[in-house]
Symmetry: C2
Subunit: 358 residues, 2 copies
DNA sequence: ATGAGAGCAGCAAGCGCTTTCTACGCGATA
DNA sequence: TATCGCGTAGAAAGCGCTTGCTGCTCTCAT
């Protein structure tokens, strides 16, 4: 039925051991022998049995990339960049280093995150890349830490991309953390500098590090300008929701309802910001004429929106690629295992001075 | 070091065979025994060794989902929908049916498509879902057909989603083909009905089925209205490019250069259409006041664009989910193994009657 | 009471590969 | 000429799991 190593060995008139060595290329094999084996492989159309190989070698060439939402370009871009570093090298022929990068979609669910990690652990994955913010639930954090510790102990390399380091930093875990706090602060500082005083905030889902950090940056900027207000006031001008367009639309409407004199809205990300713009437009308000709007991430479509979105640029491609290299062990981990990825303000045309004020 | 089945068996005071059977749940085991085993599993924190299991059982729980560009929501949406059907069922506990859906990013490269297929074949994947258009190169088509045939022969289920059936239909391959031709035709018919006579076409990359079918639909509509012109004229009003925003921007500029009197532009997809809109805007042309623009796919952001995009709706979530179920063998394949997914015209505000005419 | 049969658990033979250790042949060295 | 060592190939022992088959222990009908 299926062709096995032994079949190839028989045809090449060598032992299975030799075939294995030719295929793995980490043992001296005479050129003539090698060629004979390679020819037999081609003739027989032999395909290595992955499970058998992984079992015997106690390692596999699977690398998992976990994302919250595969339909969101924020994750797609990072995952794509990581994957091209992992399974990428075209034309490398049958040379090593080729790994199978697989992206797993958790849908933002903690359970599925854990489930995928177990599945990856089952497969004895060579590495795991976790992208996006972490869920801030003590129980889940503990479970994740334990699971990741076990994976690391089993030799699986762990890389966090766009996610803060674990509470108890592990040597074996590299973290590429986005400067969400700094980015959020700079964004709101920009708005404040333009003269805005009543700024609504559309936050991401509750209980996510990304949500919290961006919001803390926003509030820090407000506080620094003496615009903090009380906790109650802050909450009044904040609406939480998922990272999608619809959420932005609804939240903007809600904010306008709570505070009709709003002159600016800061959104948790670009997609949400675009939803907010739509809501504003539907109410006859102009952006940025009546209300300024800002996003976060600087996804490709943000530059093309009308008006072009003021946002915070996150180098997703670079970060994803670096995470991929880290996962492959092709790049030295940053000192302390932790690196901060910059988040720079990008001013475009969706923000301007407030109508009367300024 | 790592806990094995034998360790669990020892602790539960049963044979390894019994533990295996409890875990796989496909053999009668007395309740008391089962519970003892389950307790031992928990106590020891046992995690099945996937490769060993796959080797012994000659099957694996990996399902591959191939996409051209993971950063493109068109693929992200389909892949996410498929994945939720494959690895989804929350709370199913340790019950079967749980598979590891992994998405592989080919970047549109034929070589990588083949490479991933081989990697999946290595892993003895349970199923493979291929999304998006196929590359129309005889050599590649032959290679793919051969490879898919081998996979199918090895028991891997194959599902094509948004891709036409193989040249020589295989019983084991299910295909969910998008009605790109019909959608393209209806879209252009709409433009013609509005009174447009000089319509530019921004096509996708050369040599892809999707590109060709959409374009053929466009040209069929033109021909039916007696607007076909000669082949040379058709080519003059057609520009090819990748499926990205930049390509749309450049192509629109080029079309305008070739035919300044253009009153409408049909783009290969929504992203490209948005790029075209940006180019038009930058030249001081209004959409749809001066030039109408239409896209394809109806991605989420299309409804939010300004102006909202007239496009062709593809039920990506439904198609992806169905592909997932097909891959799991949870849904009967369509008659003949082929089903056509409808592509309906969605008229919004980016198209209107041409300026002077109509 | 006894034989048949159902229900459940164990034995042991692999699944296809990797890798350690051993063996062989040959040119170089003494 | 005898010895050593290098380069290369083979033998064989698993890696951890699944599963066909065997066999034990009860229960139930005769």
């Amino acid at each position: 039925m299926t062709v096995t190593l032994a079949d190839v060995a028989a045809r090449a008139r060598v032992s299975p051991a030799t075939v294995s060595r030719v295929l793995n290329g980490n043992y001296p094999v005479a050129t003539a022998t090698r060629e004979r084996v390679l020819r037999a492989v081609d003739d027989l159309d032999y395909v290595l049995n992955g499970p058998a190989s992984s079992l015997a070698a106690a390692t596999s060439d699977l690398v998992g990339v976990l994302v919250h939402d595969i339909a969101d370009p924020f994750f797609g871009i990072m995952a794509g960049a990581a994957q091209s570093e992992i399974g990428g090298q075209e034309g490398t022929g049958r040379a090593g280093g080729e790994k199978l990068a697989v992206v797993c979609n958790t849908g933002g669910s903690p359970e599925r995150e854990l489930t995928y990690l177990t599945l990856l652990q089952r497969q004895r994955a060579a590495a795991v890349v976790l992208t996006g913010g972490a869920v801030e639930d003590p129980a889940h954090t503990a479970a994740m830490t334990a699971k990741l510790g076990k994976l690391a102990a089993a030799g699986t390399r762990i890389v966090l991309c766009g996610r803060p380091p674990l509470p108890e930093p592990d040597q074996a875990v590299a973290a590429l953390a986005f400067d969400n706090l700094g980015g959020g602060r700079r964004l709101t500082e920009h708005l404040v500098a333009l003269g805005h005083r009543r700024i609504g905030y559309i936050a991401g889902p509750v209980g996510r590090t990304t949500t919290r950090h961006r919001m803390e940056g926003h509030r820090a900027a407000l506080a620094a300008a003496g615009l903090g207000g009380g906790a109650a006031e802050q909450d009044r001008l904040t609406v939480h929701g998922p990272y999608d367009r619809r959420s932005g639309y609804d939240a903007a409407a809600e904010l306008l309802h709570r505070e009709p004199a709003l002159t600016a809205i800061v959104a948790a990300n670009d997609t949400v910001a675009l939803g907010a713009c739509a809501a504003l437009r539907d109410r006859g308000l102009r952006v940025p004429g009546d209300v300024s709007v800002a996003g976060f991430d600087d996804l490709p479509f943000s530059a093309d929106a009308v008006p072009a979105l003021t946002t915070v640029r996150l180098p997703l491609v670079e970060a994803g690629a670096r995470a991929g290299r880290l996962a492959m062990g092709r790049e030295a981990p940053p000192p302390g295992g932790i690196a901060t990825v910059p988040a720079d303000l990008v001013v475009r045309s969706s923000t301007a001075r407030p109508p009367g004020g300024g």
